[in-house]
């Protein structure tokens, strides 16, 4: 098949390896946090929510790694365009996970406040002393805050460099994680002072920004999946590269229509005549027969100008 994976500049390859490493570290640390939480939380509903959130935040790095592995595979007869779209799909999965996390938090917080549920936090016997579980939870939460705080900040520039929206969403998820953890700490301190609503109020406050980030990412990922023009990595606005590309192509080809879309991290542009976007009915009929001719709307001739290894030069 003709679609081989493009060779990438050395610095991009290097950034990809770094992204992979960061994702594996994320999965390892998150797993340890999930285990630690499971040990401390017991039957507490609020903590079970925090735990489910941590499970959700495992999804983006896993989706990222699977998509990256798929993307490197060459095209086959079954998949003649290769697997670049795996990244687009992973973006939707990551964005959905982030949205679900925000929605879950908002719901839990709202339900707790409306039902006026007073969170009960028990105690734990440590070396013969009965210690309030709240203090132990704060210790675990401090531990759960540090890794995502650092990882998220490391991931963002790498995501921008390799134009990876999955990794960018993963970084947003990390930000959501540490903000939730910090809110949890303030919440438990509040509960310690007898303010039963502090926990839920802190979580509810944070959930808004998580939900906004999640919905924004979901919107972008859906745009990408329905062949929208390439968007910026951090929002639904169209990438300024698109304007530049369209302008230059019009300079060269004159009065043409330019279609630009993105498949994962890569951009593709098609130059088409402005008035005749479809294949003619006659030609379609001659190609696939009368009955189903209506289904063939495009036959494109690609100008392949360069070998895949061009980028290495």
């Amino acid at each position: 098949m003709s679609e081989t994976h493009p060779a990438l500049p050395a610095e991009i390859e290097q950034a990809m390896r770094r992204a992979k490493r960061l994702s594996w570290i994320s999965i390892g640390l998150l797993t340890s946090i999930i285990v630690a939480m499971a040990l401390v939380m017991g039957g507490s509903q609020a903590m079970r929510t925090a735990w489910v959130e941590d499970m959700l935040s495992l999804l983006p790095p896993i989706a990222f790694l699977i998509a990256l592995r798929l993307e490197e595979k060459p095209a086959t007869n079954q998949f003649p365009f290769g697997f670049y779209r795996a990244n687009s799909l992973a973006f939707l999965i990551a964005a959905t996970a982030l949205t679900a996390m925000g929605a879950l938090m908002l719901y839990e917080a709202g339900a707790t406040l409306i039902k006026r549920e007073h969170p009960t936090i028990g105690s734990y016997n440590l070396f013969g002393h009965e210690i309030w579980m709240g203090w132990i939870m704060i210790a675990v939460l401090i531990y759960s805050v540090i890794p995502p705080m650092i990882l998220g900040r490391l991931k963002k520039p790498v995501a921008a460099k390799i134009a990876d929206k999955v990794l960018h969403t993963d970084a947003l998820m990390n930000a959501a994680d540490w903000q939730t953890g910090l809110a949890g700490i303030f919440g438990i301190v509040g509960v310690a002072f007898g303010l039963w609503w502090a926990d839920a109020a802190a979580a509810g406050f944070i959930s808004f920004s998580i939900l906004t980030d999640g919905l924004k990412s979901m919107r972008s990922s859906i745009f990408e999946l329905i062949d929208g023009a390439p968007r910026k990595i951090d929002g639904p606005e169209i990438d300024p590269l698109v304007d530049r590309l369209v302008e230059r192509l019009k300079d060269v080809h004159g009065d043409v229509n330019i279609q630009v879309r993105e498949t994962g991290r890569f951009m593709r542009a098609v130059v088409e005549p402005p008035d005749r976007p479809h294949v003619s009915g006659e030609r379609a009929r001659s190609l696939i027969g009368d009955d189903e001719a209506w289904r063939l709307i495009e036959v494109a001739l690609e100008q392949r100008e360069d070998r895949p290894e061009r980028a290495k030069g």
Partner: protein, 151 residues
Amino acid sequence: MCARVFRVLAATAALGGLLAGCDLPRDPEETLEMVRGKELRVGVLQSDRNAEQDRAVVEILAENLQSQPVYTEGDAHRLFEELDRGHIHLIIGGVPKSTPFKKAGFSKAVGPLYGSAEEEKRVLAVRAGENAFLLRVNRAIEAAKAAGASS
């Protein structure tokens, strides 16, 4: 960047340590303050072997808080309702760990639930969210266990 993050976290940890030293946690509905030096109103589900052993915990708790235990017997629905309203402070006498009454706070396990078909742990119930009082109850349970082990 990292140095700043760690300074913030260190400050948080220090604050946490400081708070742990204070008289915290506190009760939103001040059960501990109401009980200290006054009546400790205890609901008993059933006067059986479970209640007998739970009483040992109540005695220690009452002694620690210099309060006077007052027992009332009643069915579960009534007692949990009274607990939620703050009319009683504690429910004893065979509260299973997996109780369907969720609107309450539960202590650590006191012992096995006698008279249950399945193997089940027995706990005590306090008003939901009264964390300071619950901590005193749990300490009394530990003390009762230690006393039971030494005798």
